[in-house]
């Protein structure tokens, strides 16, 4: 119905979200400028990421492959993008040490991008010819068919290290438990809160939530990347402050202020 067509140029119900994004952008710019001015940022050590090198080294010594799983998310999932960032660093290390890397993919688009990322990593360390075509491959876009194929591969090939980074769903425990059964060193990072307990139970190291997104900057150690983590911390401090203020105001009889945290 033409009369029902929305002709507004801005949704006022989302003004709080817009302010939040603009503030975050401001934090990002300020911290990037600080990084360029030579300010150093401290990031607490993340055991899971420190163990990545150990896992790759162990696989090289044992002569067994590393299994990298980018999760079941597609390219619209931020967890998948974070996984690709980590993969660039893992592929680089793998190329330097010369061990085998296997990346079974659930999404064909993720597979194509992972393949390009790995090729580029090999090229950067000057070992382009060592890259094995077919080491990054498509398995299935069916959740449990993917599980059956990957767990079967784990039991047959016995990879020395299993790295789970990205968005995982009900398959998380199947994969992690089977990997645990094979005795592989297991490192996981997931942005799905409901799947984290399963990884914590079955893996040696687990990156909890936001640590997955910080991983790229943590491994790369580039000042501008580290600045983005500082911006994230500022945003978190602001979120805590806003929540505390709204909580106190609600307790003192101003519940209507809770609306500033609601998005339409």
């Amino acid at each position: 119905m033409p009369s029902e067509l929305d002709t507004r140029l801005f949704d006022p119900g989302r003004i709080n979200l817009l302010i939040g994004i603009l503030l975050f952008l401001a934090f990002l710019i300020i911290n990037m400028l600080r990084a360029r001015a030579g300010h150093s940022f401290f990031i607490r050590p993340l055991a899971g990421l420190q163990a990545l090198d150990e896992a790759i080294g162990r696989a090289t010594e044992m002569g067994r492959p590393i299994l990298y799983m980018p999760g079941l998310g597609d390219m619209s999932e931020v967890g998948t993008l974070a996984s690709i960032t980590i993969m660039t660093r893992v592929a680089r290390k793998v190329a330097e040490l010369g061990c085998d890397l296997e990346v079974p993919c659930y999404d064909p688009m993720v597979m194509a991008i992972m393949d390009g990322v790995a090729r580029q990593a090999y090229r950067e360390v000057g070992r382009e010819h060592d890259y094995k075509v077919g080491s990054i491959y498509y398995v299935s876009a069916q959740q449990f068919a993917y599980v059956a194929a990957v767990t079967g591969m784990m039991l047959r090939d016995r990879p020395a290290a299993n790295i789970y980074m990205g968005s995982f769903y009900a398959e998380s425990l199947f994969l992690a438990e089977t990997g645990n059964l094979t005795g592989a060193i297991q490192i996981a990072g997931c942005d799905k809160v409901t799947q984290l307990p399963f990884f914590v139970c079955a893996c040696d190291y687990t990156l909890l939530g936001e640590e997955l997104f910080a991983a790229g900057a943590y491994i790369g150690r580039e000042p501008v990347q580290l600045a983005t983590i500082a911006a994230q911390d500022w945003a978190k401090a602001l979120a805590i402050a806003v929540m505390l203020i709204v909580l106190l105001l609600t307790a003192f009889g101003h519940p209507e202020l809770r609306r500033i945290l609601q998005v339409s």
Binding site: V117, E124, A149
Partner: protein, 206 residues
Amino acid sequence: MYLGPILLTFVVGATLIALYFIPHHQAQEINSELLLWATIVYAFALILGSVSLWSVHAQRIRQRISGWPFSLVTLFALLGTTFMGVAWGIGEESPLGRFYSMVNSPLASTMFALLAFFIASAAFRAFRARNVEATLLLVTAIVMMIGRVSVGEFIWRGFPGLTEWLLDVPNLAAKRAIAIGVGLGAVSTALKIILGIERGYLGRTR
């Protein structure tokens, strides 16, 4: 070399963010159109996926790599389902539809049913009282399990209330803390990609 893709990412990312805040019907039509483009790109990526699937499994069969008979089944299924879909369509009553509901769905359900056993083995490992944290987890799990079954109320009337409190207070607080961190991390990653700070998806490690 990377300017083109970075610029394209910036334009598309910034446009989609802007469209989220503009409820105008024409803006939303553009949004729907862009999402349709993503579906079309995915369809092309599926061709790449099929080629990858074929080449990887054909190589395994040729070289008789461990587990090659499974690869044979995979390729047979790939060819068979493609033929059924092309020859008789993909409706619910078509051979492909029947194959899906009578073979694929029960197989997926069987796999899913195995989850109970995996949970049991993971729980067994997690609930070993090795230190204070693990003991706390064990005690909480026992309270939760007793409190969620009807006999729990007969043992002690407070069990159901205690389980509700555990779920709604400490559990929810931890979940929300992680969820807020994930949300901020996701926004940060998205902005880094849109602004060209993070270029990992282009294959750059430096």
